[in-house]
Symmetry: C2
Subunit: 315 residues, 2 copies
């Protein structure tokens, strides 16, 4: 008899679910655009429908589930199972999602933040397989992080561990909305590379095919770099170096063996991975720096589903 | 029937042992100055004698021990139980201390670094009691760290976790011997405060009772500050602020609830604790910064003994 779990990934854009066997096989998937206009009740109903859909598709019945795992954007309270106030889900404020699911399905439900769930999924079945000490970093608008230490998800005392985007790399740096200064996220996110590219273009008038425009994105800069634009390449090199500097601090705290990088910026490949690896070799501790591997994430959308299921298994 | 352990703390100055009951009661202690002039064989013999001494004093026989735990200055290999190359024990190079002890006593022996052992001890019986997520920081010549996460010692993939002294706070900062730049240790250690005090005195000629002298120590600066010297007070404030900045990065990674600070600099009390706490409140993540407590260590020399015994219990 197999044990079955459902993993759900709540996002501002999509709600994705998976029916997951205890060995990590994804037996069924469901994906639906989050109908934010339907309000809180509407999106909770979508989540419930999505759970029912994957269970049906997999030919299992709800009461056979051994657990449900949910990944949600933070901040959340993983111990009470409450979604506190995600930036991209404005209708969601202090929602006791664990209790709502347990009342609905009668199945034990475990909630954690989406970055942690992606990290746990990648460590179980993806880029961190066989690495008991693993960090997963998502470079998007901000920088998200999740860590597995000694084979266990690093949660912290109130569910706020692995906030690698808010490691300081320059204590005199610009103010971050989080309250800190010079946070990694201000430099090495997709938003960060655009901001610093504009700053340098304004100050230095470099020779570049890029034009100052409000539409500039990390992708525009990537495409220019890929097409040989030296200034755009330099901006990626600079961004990767600063990311590497932040990762060295993370490595020195967590002593992780593998770091997986995902999010839009990771699509830039060597343009970002090469300076990251070079910086770790230059700045890491001897005996550690030679052994750390930096790799792309592997599982895409499945990472958070698998992680959420694994979290339900282990909690 | 009680279970008994021996904890040993190997240092460049002293070798300290304790006979420790499974509930954390220290039944006997032994302390002897490390005879470095007797070479490697000599200090290993001292360690063995010290173990025998505490066991005898406690009225237990060696073969009744459930385990021996050793704390050693790093770098070490905790998995193989090897002391690699401690700076202050120049005769010790790649010493398989675990095997040497197991051959001698026939008792399972577990080795880890002294900063980790102090952290584990403080978390078990001292400043971190009841905090499953705990960081212990020692401000000495350098900055040592150990962390307990979710109730377990944070070891990392090759025993180099919680190297908080080598978190970057200024990526353009001075070169650190570790290979990195702008490491916390360069600013907030006892060595760091002396260095920056001298730099400021050379550049700014501040009004102060301190005199530029090769004998200046953190204690000299502390005594001046305690006696009302404004420049010396400012140096402590600055040092505590920079320490707080490094600790915020650590908190954002580990989400620890309690941070204990030890080492000579901690004797400065509020001169160092106040700016640390203020900085955490200013720069920490909302929802976390209000909850983190920063306290002095409590156990002194016993911390590493208790931690080493606990490590033997749990490994």
């Amino acid at each position: 008899m197999n044990k079955w779990y459902v993993g759900v990934d709540l996002g501002g854009t999509n709600i994705v679910s998976g029916l997951i066997r205890e060995d990590g096989e994804v037996a069924a998937r469901d994906k639906r655009p989050t109908r934010q206009e339907a309000g809180l009740e509407g999106s909770i109903r979508q989540m419930k429908d999505s759970v029912r859909a994957v269970v049906e598709r997999g030919g299992v019945s709800i009461h056979e589930l051994a657990g449900i795992g949910i990944g949600s954007p933070g901040p959340i309270d993983p111990f009470e199972g409450i979604v506190i106030a995600p930036e991209n889900l404005p209708a969601w404020r202090d929602v006791p999602l664990k209790r709502i699911f347990e009342d609905e399905f009668g199945i034990r439900t475990i909630l954690d933040n989406d970055a942690n769930m992606a990290a746990l999924g990648e460590q179980w079945k993806g880029a961190g397989k066989n690495a008991a000490d693993f960090l997963c970093v998502t470079l998007g608008t901000g920088i998200g992080g999740g860590a597995v230490c000694g084979g266990k998800l690093l949660k912290g005392f109130n569910g706020n561990a692995a906030e690698i985007g808010h490691i300081t790399i320059d204590h005199n740096g610009p103010q971050c909305p989080c309250g800190n200064r010079g946070c990694l996220e201000l430099y090495a996110s997709a938003t960060g590379i655009v901001r610093w590219t504009k700053v340098r273009m304004a100050i230095e008038s470099p020779e570049t095919a890029l034009t100052e425009s409000p539409d500039m994105t990390a992708r525009t800069i990537f495409e220019a770099a890929r097409d040989g634009d030296n200034f755009a390449r330099e901006m990626f090199d600079r961004t990767g170096t600063l990311l590497g500097i932040g990762l060295v601090s993370a490595i020195n705290m967590l002593n992780v063996e593998v770091i997986a990088i995902g999010g839009g910026m990771a699509d830039a490949g060597d343009l970002i991975f090469e300076p990251v690896q070079r910086t770790i070799l230059e700045r890491g501790l001897p005996g550690v720096r030679e052994k750390v591997r930096v790799v792309p994430v592997e599982l895409g959308e499945d990472a958070a589903l698998l992680g959420a299921a694994k979290n339900a298994m282990e909690t």
